[in-house]
Amino acid sequence: MAEPADRGDRRVVLGLGNLLNRDEGLGVHALRALGQRLGADPGVELVDGGVLGLNLLPLVESCSHLLVLDAVDAGRPPGTVIELGRDRIPMLRGVTFSEHQVTFQEVLGLASIRGRLPGTVHLIGAQPADISVGVEVSPAVRGAIPPIVERALEFLDRWDATVPTSGDAS
């Protein structure tokens, strides 16, 4: 196996979700809102990960700091902002019919067993209300985007206050 890439200090905010399924795309919408707040020189990489699944593994494994924005189904009222720390994000794999059923949990699971999970992983999201076909998000989720952006900014400030750390040694 190749040696892990030298991840140095790579800080990424990754927005996830499908823009064609309304609230499912909230991670990408929140990423765009965050990008507007941060302006032309965000000081951090903003990556629209869509629903790329396994293709995101190289990116995840190359980060020192990873902040994920995504829809989170926790059975809460729609629009509830939800945060999960590094050890709270389950990493699963079941028998599937398709490579395209690779979930982001699995990407994290793969990075973990390969010893390449970023040292800092955090997720901020919200409970979706409507994931039917369409490009407009629900009012509840639209309302959740500003607080998600605020929490993300606080988190990025905390990163700035720390010295670069490396991820798991492989």
């Binding site: 190749a2 990556v47 509830t80 994000i89 794999r93 019919f97 059923q101 949990q105 994931i131 076909v133």
Partner: protein, 579 residues
């Protein structure tokens, strides 16, 4: 702050459900294929600017972003009679060739290999013997006993940790696994290597598309200019990165993927006589020249093969309103002219008609409607699309390298030509075409460099960019051979806006339900005749379904009515106890 976690990150990629009826000996008598999520991209596209359609279409699926983008811009260019510059065409074709290698290698190692390779068994392997096998099949450098012992230790650590993660829920120890532990170890090592390899092969997309993920596309060419002296264009430095990336691709295909296929296949020759299904195949073709309607320029021909007959291949016309049709008799849609009728995609309708059953349910109503996939048919006949269709089309057309590779693989396995019409044939065809297309990628790159050297660096044609230059009504067909098969986009443009847009994606062909005449789709036909060793662990079904490389996300869309989680996918098989 909420800390409750069940399924924290909903990932909506599409569910495939198979219902199989078994006889007393656990043989499959009938099979039904169902997509349990609705699709709706067609509805989203109506009324939009056709130049923007690709940006929506590419979001239909995370793995198929590139193929939908190409089919979309080609459809609009076809409708508006746009010719893209030759350099742009080469760049597009390079992106497509790269996509095959990336997709096929990942499909083989990440998904399909685990149908044949018992991961846990590799712990019993003698690394020295694995090393000997590796050195006997290729010159790949990672081949020492120490290397394989290290891989084995990593897998042991995963098993010991109790967090099998990616390897959890496999059917490890199933009697249908036939490989010796040493070959299992070889394959597991390459499974892990493939994950590293993929980060080196996406550079062509990053460079030509300006960014990755989600590269940019443009109707009329490619968004990346060529200027050897510019920092922001395709320059000498970027050409050199691409050169290196192509080397990485061909090395892995030549020294790992193809040799592994030949090391694994001999243990499973029974699958060379199983899983064929229809015996009918269709391709739209790939790697067009600058005249997109000139099908004679295609490397992969546009071909229709019926009843295994490679001697009388014909060319299907996607504009033929009566031959190319989709049916909804058994699909959760409604047609204005009645659900027995067929519609050409230009006249296609997307009106939902979910007739149940309400979830949770035990069985689908297979006599009625039972899937969100339509049933595309050619002259009323179901066909298979994908790597096997393409390899057969190239083989029948006498494409020299394809004929050579097919004959040599068959000879190595001691199998007759008929063995191609099978689950194993499909899996072998995928590896064979990967080799053909990886080599073609190098040829395309050399052509591109020659063009640049000759000063032909135009990458965008803006003559028809402005809507005022368009006819008031136009219809177009855009195609690409996606890694998993023929993909078509049909667009109707009225007064500068999309009036109708229909996608017929590979998995809709392959996973389609019965049609108006009761003809089964490719999956449904392919599963009949397979016997299950353990019906509660239906590994044999996974092997054949995976050999098609399903992409449910493209074929269908949106969460299922259960709103359920990954566990649902894990148990997505429903097996009747008896017929």
């Amino acid at each position: 702050m909420t800390r409750l976690v069940v399924d924290p990150i909903t990932r909506i990629e599409g569910h495939l459900r198979i219902e199989a009826e078994l006889d007393e000996a656990n043989g499959i008598v009938e099979a039904y294929s169902s997509g349990t999520m609705v699709r709706g991209i067609e509805i989203i596209l109506q009324g939009r600017d056709p130049r923007d359609a690709w940006a929506f279409a590419q979001r239909a699926c995370g793995v198929c972003t590139t193929v939908h983008s190409f089919a979309s811009i080609r459809a609009v260019e076809d409708a508006l009679d746009i010719r893209i510059p030759p350099a742009a065409n080469l760049m597009r074709n390079m992106m497509i060739a790269q996509q095959y290698a990336h997709d096929h290698v990942m499909h083989f190692y990440h998904l399909h290999a685990l149908d044949w390779v018992d991961v846990v068994s590799c712990l019993q392997a003698d690394p020295t013997e694995t090393s000997r096998i590796q050195q006997s099949i290729s010159s790949w450098p990672n081949s020492s006993p120490g290397y394989f012992a290290d891989v084995q230790a990593r897998v042991q650590a995963i098993v010991d940790s109790g967090q099998l993660s990616i390897f959890a829920n496999g059917y490890w120890g199933h009697p249908a696994y036939k490989l010796p532990p040493e070959v299992n170890l070889l394959a597991v090592a390459h499974y892990l290597e493939a994950l590293d390899w993929q980060s080196h092969v996406t550079k062509i997309h990053t460079i030509f598309g300006g960014k990755n993920p989600h590269p940019n596309f443009v109707v009329g060419g490619v968004p990346m200019p060529i200027d050897l002296d510019s920092d922001t264009a395709l320059n000498a430095e970027r050409l050199s990165i691409i050169d290196d990336s192509i080397d990485r691709i061909t090395e892995f295909v030549d020294q790992v993927y193809l040799p592994d296929l030949l090391a694994i296949a001999p243990a499973y020759l029974d699958y060379a006589a199983l899983g064929e299904g229809l015996g009918n195949f269709l391709t739209w073709g790939e790697f067009p020249g600058v005249e997109p309607t000139d099908s004679s320029a295609l490397l992969v021909p546009r071909a229709l093969i019926l009843g295994r007959d490679l001697a009388s291949v014909t060319e299907p016309d996607p504009r033929d309103m009566t031959a190319m049709q989709e049916f909804v008799t058994h699909s959760w849609y409604r047609y204005e002219a009645g659900d027995q009728s067929g519609l050409h995609p230009w006249e296609g309708e997307t009106v939902f008609n979910e007739t149940g059953p309400e979830p949770p349910f035990e069985e689908l109503d297979v006599e009625g409607k039972y899937t969100w996939l339509k049933a595309p048919r050619w002259n009323g006949t179901p066909v298979e699309v994908g790597p096997l269709a393409r390899v057969l089309a190239m083989y029948a057309a006498g494409h020299e390298q394809t004929v050579e590779l097919v004959d040599s693989v068959l000879a190595t396995l001691g199998a007759p030509v008929e063995a191609l019409f099978s689950t194993l044939g499909r899996t072998a065809a995928r590896a064979i075409e990967t080799k053909v297309f990886a080599d073609h990628l190098r040829t395309l790159f050399e052509d591109l460099k020659a063009r640049i050297a000759a000063g032909d660096t135009r990458t965008f044609d803006d003559e028809r960019w402005e809507p005022r230059s368009w006819p008031s009504s136009a219809r177009g067909f855009g195609f690409t051979e996606a890694p998993r098969g023929a993909l078509g986009h049909w667009v109707v443009i009225e007064d500068g806006k999309i009036e109708n847009y229909q996608l017929v994606v590979p998995t809709t062909w392959n996973a389609s339900p019965r049609d108006a005449q009761g003809n089964p789709g490719a999956y449904e036909a392919a599963l009949v005749g397979t016997t299950l060793a353990q019906p509660d662990a239906p590994l044999e079904i996974l092997r054949t379904i995976h050999s098609f490389d399903p992409c449910m996300a493209c074929a269908i869309h949106m969460v299922d009515a259960n709103g359920d989680d990954v566990a649902e996918v894990g148990t997505g098989l429903h097996v009747h106890a008896d017929g």
